[in-house]
């Protein structure tokens, strides 16, 4: 099968502390996937390796058949869990920046979404609240026609009303040939939009199943299963 993400025997450690052990995962196209696990389980590390900002120690990883590098970055849209724009930039500068570097960026889509959120294009990044900065980044990331969207804690710093808007944004903007990987702790909030979930524990995949199968086979929600699997 032609997987969008094909990761085999991936290993990564921070110094002597191993984070991913023999991590293997294959993801299909057209799915919204929840990457779930407790703190320090390796979710962010895996996403960073996919995004190309962290090097692996060993193993194979391909996105749409491409090694991690310039070619994979053309088709991956990454939202980190931190603000990455220079504070001195204006919102309209960030749009221009994305337009300059990503051929698949849709300016009209970004401007429409920002307008819907009442975010002025002339606002400076440093003048925006943390939540609004996160919204700007999400809008830009979702305004690309990428094949893989990597969203690391996309709702970490926003209020519940904004979370719904973010989920709506994700649902309405990704195309059917693309997949979205969402790493989050807010399982109950995202559960309704997920097709598949991947549970990660101590650097290994312990479960990769569709949400429908989980509900059918276990008779419980993803949130309830997560609490059961990762009970302290």
């Amino acid at each position: 099968m032609d997987f969008l993400v094909d990761c085999r025997s991936l290993k990564k450690s921070y110094g002597r502390r191993p984070v991913l052990h023999d991590f293997s995962l294959q993801l299909e196209r057209g799915r919204i996937i929840g990457l779930l696990g407790p703190n320090g389980s390796g979710k962010t590390t895996f996403i960073k390796i996919l995004a190309g900002i962290l090097s692996k120690n060993s193993g194979e990883i391909k996105i749409s058949g491409r090694q991690i590098g310039i070619e994979s970055k053309k088709i991956v849209s990454y939202l980190p869990e931190r603000t990455y724009f220079s504070p001195s930039m204006k919102v309209k500068d960030t749009i221009k920046f994305f337009e300059d570097f990503y051929k698949d960026f849709k300016r009209e889509r970004a401007e429409q979404m920002l307008s819907g959120l009442d975010i002025s294009l002339n606002s400076k990044i440093k003048e925006l609240s943390k939540g609004t900065r996160e919204k700007v980044q999400l809008v830009l990331v979702m305004s690309r026609e990428a094949e893989l969207y990597l969203l690391d804690e996309p709702m970490g710093g926003v209020d519940p009303a904004a979370r719904d808007y973010i989920l709506k944004t994700i649902l309405t903007n990704y195309n059917e040939n693309a997949s979205v990987i969402i790493s989050t702790h807010l399982i109950s909030d995202v559960e309704k939009v997920l097709d598949d979930v991947v549970f990660i524990k101590e650097g290994n995949v312990v479960l990769h199943q569709s949400v429908d199968e989980i509900r059918r086979e276990n008779g419980m929600s993803v949130d309830a299963l997560f609490r059961e699997v990762f009970a302290c």
């Binding site: 962290l54 980190p80 570097f101």
Partner: protein, 269 residues
Amino acid sequence: MLGKLLKYEFKAQGAMYLGIYLIALLFSVIAVASDKINQALNGNPVFSVMRVLSLAAAVIALIAIFIITVVMCIIRYRNNLLKDEGYLMHTLPVSAASLHFSKLLAGIIWFIGDIAVLMISVGILTEDFRFTWIKSFKVILEQSGLKIDSGMAFVFVLYIVLSVISSLSMFYACLNLGSLSYSSKGIMAFVWYIILYMVGQVVSVIGLVILCIVQYGSNFAVLFQTQTDMAPTGFVMGTFVTSVIIAVILTAAYNFASLYILDKKLNLE
């Protein structure tokens, strides 16, 4: 893509550099204007003090420009490639080489700007845009036994340019080597600076010793003789050429280390 990256470098820092350049030039103009007014008024105490203060400010501003450029180059590289902004820069579909060399090229261009402002300021302060003081400097050097021809001038300028490139490359290599640490990246970058600085000094000394042996054999005493058949011109030229070769080798090593880390060992925790 390198062109686009450079465009954003100038956009991000252009206003700041323009500001400090204008301040330095303004102090030079005020110093000359104060001097002219002081002379016209046959020694007005206000303009006399103003002349001294603005001249001091101009000199301080000209020195500060170079220090600010070094500091800003380091901060810009660290913040834009190795801190939070790196999460955006390293996910752009551009090569690590483009990211790295855009910073290096921008730094070189700012240094060229610094030198241009320095020359203009000196021109304003000396009211001599033909830079005749350079000729005077040449005469003084020639009186000490040096024969300065266009070849030596070229190698000297080349050495200055390469020194700037080599220094910037070393700072960037230190930041990249420091970024490999999982706990104290800043401290490790400083430790790497000390290590690379010492290695650079050792390599330079070895290079110069080799030059001495090649040129004079074991008769080092000739270096300390001022009036001799073996005038120091050849040695000075040899020193510059050796320094240029060493700078090229070290610059290549620093850039290789940076590119290897950015491409193969990137560690944005």
